[in-house]
């Protein structure tokens, strides 16, 4: 058979499979991300149905998926919100960072994986999935709740932290000497600061450039700019994803809404491909030995997220039931954690890091929304009684 034909057959089968899994997830009311990961595991090396020719194509699609994920994430925020959120929630944000980065870092150090893996694992356990959490909030009707702004500002804080963290991680993963590493980190941080400053100061100019009444032109300009900036960022050892995120932040208001509407279907397609790709890279037979460890890590970081949520909500004057809900809403892990693990796996940090991260995210992406759904009536009942 012609290789293009095989490529289409394989890629089509993968997408169709994801669609069916997504429908299943919607029916059960969970996030489809864990199912996409499982699908990737099944298609990859050592899986049930290894792919023959389309892996390279899927790998490029996965890169695009990460860029689109972060571009749309950046579009959700505008500069003012970021600044106010930083001012008002710095303390809760730092508590979030310390409490939730610790389990991953400590686990990596105890396993003797070395400092670079510790930094990567810190990121894997730190970031809540803004995508899954936002969906939980809206599905359960929690958007109107009074603890929700606290949860949302923690998410904003985490996303901003990621913009600083990802370049540092990328530089460390590049694995140069200490001095060389410091220089790379310096360049990376300087780039992020310059782009962020440009985005905040001259966002309007960028908007004027991108803006177009024609949706086709708008889409081409925005995706083109995001890819260009992502490429430059990659070249400077800043992660490509961060470049796209910063482009997203520069665009705000009505333009951001239009752009989001145009990009969402594209993003959904390529983000699903990204999750599959991560699964592809992970050997399912290696998950078994680390499953117990992943479950323990998941349990610990569930507790630390609950503490984080409770602390932040208490500072905002929320009663006990609301504090519990804030903690639960923060539990899901998803896209970012896989992005971080994906970077570490690509750099070959430790062979067990991929399977551990995959199992960990599988547990929390599936269990987080479920916990919120199950615990909601319980919290309400307790609140009613007292």
């Amino acid at each position: 058979m012609h290789s293009t034909a095989i490529l289409f057959l394989e890629f089509g089968a993968v997408l169709l499979g994801l669609g069916i899994l997504g429908a299943l997830a919607m029916r059960v009311g969970i996030s489809p991300i864990p199912l996409y990961l499982v699908a990737g595991l099944a298609f990859g090396q050592g899986g049930i149905l290894p792919l023959a020719t389309s892996e390279e194509f899927i790998s490029v699609g996965a890169e695009l998926g990460v860029i689109l994920l972060l571009l749309t994430l950046g579009l959700e925020y505008n500069a003012d919100e970021l600044v106010t959120s930083l001012k008002g929630n710095a303390r809760a944000g730092v508590v979030d960072l310390v409490l939730n980065a610790a389990p991953g870092a400590v686990a990596a150090l105890l396993l003797g994986w070395g400092p670079v893996a510790a930094v990567a694992m810190a990121g894997v356990t730190y970031a809540t999935s803004s995508g899954i959490t936002a969906k939980v909030l809206s599905d359960l009707g929690w958007i109107g709740n009074r603890e929700t702004p606290v949860v949302l500002s923690l998410l904003v804080f985490e996303d901003l932290t990621m913009a600083v963290y990802l370049p540092i991680l990328t530089a460390m993963l590049a694995g140069v000497s200490f001095v060389g590493g410091a220089v790379t980190v310096g360049i990376a941080l300087a780039t992020v600061s310059v782009v962020l400053l440009l985005a905040l100061r001259y966002g309007r100019l960028i908007e004027a450039f991108i803006s177009s009444p024609n949706s086709e032109v708008l889409l081409l300009k925005l995706v083109g700019l995001a890819l260009l900036v992502a490429g430059v960022a990659q070249q400077l050892q800043v992660s490509a994803a961060v470049g796209a995120f910063l482009v997203g932040i520069a665009v705000s208001g009505e333009l951001a809404e239009d752009a989001q509407a145009l990009l969402t279907p594209l993003r959904d397609l390529f983000a699903a491909v990204f999750f599959v790709f991560f699964g592809l890279q992970t050997d399912p037979t290696k998950i078994g030995p680390v499953a117990g460890l992943a479950a323990l890590l998941a349990l610990v970081s569930m507790v630390t997220k609950l503490l984080t949520g409770a602390y932040a909500a208490r500072r905002a004057g929320i009663a006990k039931a609301g504090r519990a809900r804030a903690g639960i809403a923060l539990i899901p892990r998803g896209e970012f954690n896989i992005v971080i693990a994906g970077l570490a796996v690509a750099a070959g940090v430790h062979p067990d890091l991929g399977p551990l991260a995959a199992a960990y995210v599988l547990i929390l992406a599936a269990f987080g929304p479920l916990a919120a759904r199950l615990v909601q009536p319980l919290i309400t009942a307790i609140a009613k009684r007292t």
Binding site: I143, P149, L155, A319, A321, R325, I379, T380, A383
Partner: protein, 160 residues
């Protein structure tokens, strides 16, 4: 009554207040234009026990139902209190002589002694309109006066 405003990063804005009877209600304004009417749980005041999603049109309708007709209602209550005073709601239909013309052309007060106190247009109330206010099809004119004078206004607005 104090209305509290909170930013919801990535979503929009929330306004909320507590009613005199102790219930807390709020409106979440999404950036997309969607409005959520939120009613808080009395037992757990941080939780929205009821969230009603409204699109632009529904939110406008709710707004009209809660706001504008109250003025007409107040007028009705007024003429019930004062004997001999009548308020009528008269529609301006297409084909009537004053559709598209300023109110001053009808010289209602001079000719009948009754007063036009308000015009309701698309659910919005224009209280005490001036003589240069231009009528359009579908306006509802609220007139106050004696039974005879208000009937005369009805005749003017339909027949000229």
């Amino acid at each position: 009554m104090e209305v509290e405003q909170t930013a919801l990063p990535g979503i929009g804005l929330r306004h909320e207040f507590t009613t005199r009877s102790g219930r807390r209600i709020g409106i979440v304004s999404h950036r997309t234009g969607r409005r959520d009417l939120v009613i808080y749980d009395p037992a757990d005041p941080d939780r929205a026990c009821e969230t009603i999603k409204l699109n632009d049109e529904e939110a406008d309708a709710l707004c009209e139902l809660l706001g504008a007709p109250r003025i007409v209602q107040r007028l009705n209550a007024l003429h019930r209190e004062v004997e001999g005073l009548v308020s009528l709601q008269l529609p301006i239909l297409s084909g009537t002589p004053y559709a598209g013309r300023p109110m001053g052309d009808a010289r209602v007060r001079t000719r009948t002694g009754a007063s036009i106190v308000a015009v309701v247009r698309a659910g919005q109330v224009f209280a005490s309109p001036g003589p240069d206010f231009v009528f359009t099809d579908g306006d509802v004119v609220v007139v106050v006066g004696s039974p005879e004078s208000t009937a005369a206004v009805a005749d003017i607005l339909t027949n000229g």
